[in-house]
Symmetry: C2
Subunit: 201 residues, 2 copies
């Protein structure tokens, strides 16, 4: 006998399964956990969602998120102390946080994804026009900072084609052994890249 | 350099980490995924949460969830076609769904957890008084259906003590090999239980 859940529970389970990495079983667990919370605790969660949704928008220049009021550029784009001659191009805002914590001090451009031919996602959904529009004002270097995988490689490759007419230096992040890594556990592609990119000490 | 996230993003990340099984990293991923959704999609999620929170409450008899209006008993308790002589006692509503799909047709009692001495959780947070109050009207059997682990065993043990004065049959779910299981992968406790509970064929 299959038990029908009340529609409001089923609906919420469906909503949770939309999140990345959350399947039906996990979603069910989250909703049943919420069942045991007080109505007040659900309200606090809802309020956090609404405040987030109201305050946060994409910067119209770099497409990073910002809470600087509607249509205002973000703090990073507005900061005169940052190096306004280089743009680091990333797939997602999360990558921006990683690069920022590594000490990069230039500008950013959040592309909004990568090329993925298997899903039929080529260049049209990416913010390439917007990137090209930014290449006029004193930009001397574009750093392509994508995940070191097949989609990242392809995106770098396509972007290089799109950007090569502008006489701007195009670089990508170095490949090699990660800090704290294990030489005999490294895969051959990483090792080959580490050899190719070896430096005098 | 560490990048400070806008407070509304940080808040929402904190809210997501309250959910079971969601750590800071997963939470960050969920929130950054939400960043890329439209405001409308966030509203739909919020609406699902609010409808759920408004409609669903605990049945005052069995403490299963219900959407049968405020303080009304749930459809399972109200159903005259169900066997009103047995109560299946469970830790959580999720367990109820599992037992229900196995074809059980009696009543339920959701205890609200299990005994867990390591966390200092003994009997006081469980709905035992409410269970005892139900043992008057023609109940002939109480089925203890807890997870087959240490907490479940202890809860069964304590409940047996609490219920033994009522002259009601107290049973627990059978132990043994799960359907589709592998004999040589079964642990020794399961095998011992399977041997003890062997049946003529």
């Amino acid at each position: 006998m299959f038990m029908r859940l009340p529609i409001s529970i089923q609906n919420l389970i469906n909503e949770f399964t939309r999140f990345p990495g959350i399947g039906p079983k996990t979603s069910e667990r989250l909703v049943f956990w919420l069942l045991r919370r007080s109505k007040l605790q659900v309200r606090i969660f809802v309020q956090a969602l609404l405040t987030f949704s109201d305050e946060i928008h994409a910067c119209p220049v770099c497409f990073n998120f910002t809470n600087n009021g509607d249509n205002a550029i973000c703090a990073l784009c507005a900061d005169p102390k940052r190096d306004h001659s280089s743009i680091c191009v990333l797939a997602e805002c999360l990558d921006l946080i990683a690069i920022e914590s590594a000490g990069y001090n230039g500008l950013y451009h959040v592309l909004g994804g990568t090329v993925n031919p298997l899903k039929g996602e080529m260049l049209s959904h990416l913010r390439i026009k917007e990137l090209i529009a930014r290449l006029t004002g004193g930009i001397t270097e574009v750093i392509l900072a994508f995940d070191p995988n097949h989609e990242g490689e392809m995106t770098s490759h396509y972007l290089k084609q799109e950007l090569k007419g502008f006489g701007i230096k195009i670089t990508r992040l170095a490949r090699g052994l990660p800090q704290g890594g294990d030489l005999d556990y490294a895969d051959e592609v990483t090792l080959a890249e580490a050899l190719k990119g070896r430096r005098e000490v």
